[in-house]
Amino acid sequence: MPTATDYIRILPEIVLSVWGMAIMFVESLLPEDRSRKDLGIFAAFGAVAAIAATVYQAQPQFAGFGFNHVLRVDHFSIFFHLVVLLVTLATILMSLDYLPLQKIDFGEYYALVILGAVGMCLMSSAVELVLIFIALEISSIASYILSGFRRSAAVSTESALKYFLLGSFATGFFLYGIALLYGATGSTNIFDIALILGKANHVEALAYLAVALIFTGLAFKVACAPFQIWTPDVYEGAPSPVVALMSTAPKAATFAVLIRIVFEAASPNLFWVIWVAAALSMSVGNVGALLQSNVKRMLAYSSIAHAGYLMVAFASASNRDLAISSAMFYSAAYAAMNLGAFAVVTQMAGSGEGYLQMDDYSGLGKRSPVLAAVFTFFLLSLIGIPITGGFFAKFYIFSTALRTRLIWLTLIGLVNSGVGSYYYLRLIVRMYMYEPRAEIPVPPVRLGMGLAIAISLIATLWLGVLPNAVLHYTQGMPSAIAVR
């Protein structure tokens, strides 16, 4: 029987589920012509409540396995819970005025965001492949639906279709991998698998095949080459706040799963696969972004590149503690800055998402100095300029890589971040050095959007200027995760 402590170990998920159901319930009671903004505010409180639950859960006495060893609360899970929940909160806040603008009057939107977060949270704490699979599907299916939320726009439904078909396709590979791993070890628990594979004096080829397929599935979800191909299309078509969400939170959660699998369970060595994937992602992402004129599409390529930088940390797996810590730090920094960038894109997109071209950003520095400055800050962070979170995250990852003697990967990464600076800069140049071509209206920043931007701004700045607290947290974890 589950104990009370067991329930506390899934407290944030419980809070989110209850909140999601409450939103559905209220939605059905609301009169049809009434604005759903209040519902969004209610949802935002749900995210805050879940954050509070996570903080409560972070007390040391609740750390450990729960529900028959299917999940585990530790520094690691708490960290990713907070990342996911903050992203969720910011996404809800930036959607408050976005939805009415796009004439989307479904309160279910908020319920989907909140319930999707249940899956993402559980992904970071689950240690049982069954649970990981279901959690992954929850977050994926919620994303599929959300990306098709502008139902009248052909691009949005197309984006949903592409994401859905290819996502399910990749899920098939992931699942087959799990089946084969189960066949090779007889278990679906990550720690049991690690134990069995660790004891075996000869790991059979079946396990290698299994890990290859699992990697395929997860690499698809984090948009890592050679499985990045869906990203630009899907990000371009999906509603902007949804892209802000799905380019950060599910990605961070999937990276959490990948960390658990690569660092805990996978005794088959993925080193060269990850090496190539990292190099390829960085190059494809950065090079592909160079010629883009659509800002969302450009940021999609940039997110591929960032997945590549993150994979560099995985390639440093032999330097375990540093690798995990730098991967975690990068996930957080990336989530913060990318969220901020997409928040600005959301603000700029306008009704019907008509203003997404780089040209539309011409002279933004004059039209809306604060918005332009904030956007510049996020872009600089994505480039990796000091005093932003992006700089230190990159610095940490590459210094880890060089300590692991991954000289070539470090070089490729640094060259890529140089190439990368070019297209971010193009946007900055647009904003500050071009005359506004057409007077495109910049709608005033409302409270919700302001809060969302503030959250990402503060997080990005904080991770850059005073990264110590987060660093300590990420570093306290590697020893904790290994304890059985």
């Binding site: 049809e32 729960g66 028959n68 299917v70 939107y109 249940v118 649970l131 080829a205």
Partner: protein
């Protein structure tokens, strides 16, 4: 007897899968998929998986495929159009698939478990056994599926329903 049954349903299954690929009308493909699923259910029985075999028929063949056929009818999906489409799928995808398949099969044959042999009638995955496990070891996962199903229902409603304002 066992081998005969396996071959019968196995071939039926493979034939259904191939037929799904060959047929140009979605409705025919759907029907061959039902054949695949039905014969799979029987193969599950051969493997002794009682509960799963039953559920296979109820959920897959019963619920999911009905949904498919319903949508095919709703959208009036006729014969497949022949578009030129994708070179990449032909040039890279299919050879990739074939190599992957050959490699996979070779692994399964060489390193796959061969020692265990299955005897007919050894039913062990009964509903009560599976149920017990579902409500003990996998309790959380089971509870979580409710969230999943909730999302799915909501998604289907949102995507298919008409807008309030229009």
């Amino acid at each position: 007897m066992h081998i005969f049954l396996f071959l019968l349903f196995g071939l039926l299954c493979a034939g259904g899968a191939i037929n799904l690929l060959i047929q140009r009308k979605p409705i025919n493909s759907a029907l061959s998929l039902i054949v695949v699923m039905g014969s799979l259910a029987l193969i599950y029985l051969l493997l002794g998986a009682e509960f799963v075999a039953v559920v296979q028929v109820i959920i897959y063949a019963g619920a999911i495929m009905v949904l498919f056929i319903f949508v095919i009818m709703l959208l009036n999906a006729g014969e497949e159009e022949h578009t030129k489409g994708s070179k990449v799928a032909k040039i890279i995808g299919i050879p990739g698939l074939i190599t992957g398949f050959i490699i996979g099969v070779s692994v399964l044959l060489q390193h796959g478990p061969q020692e265990k042999r299955i005897h007919i009638g050894e039913l062990y995955g009964s509903a009560s056994d599976v149920g017990m496990m579902l409500f003990t070891k996998y309790l959380l996962a089971f509870e979580l599926t409710s969230v999943l199903v909730l999302i799915a229902i909501m998604g289907a409603v949102v995507l298919a329903r008409r807008s309030h304002s229009s």
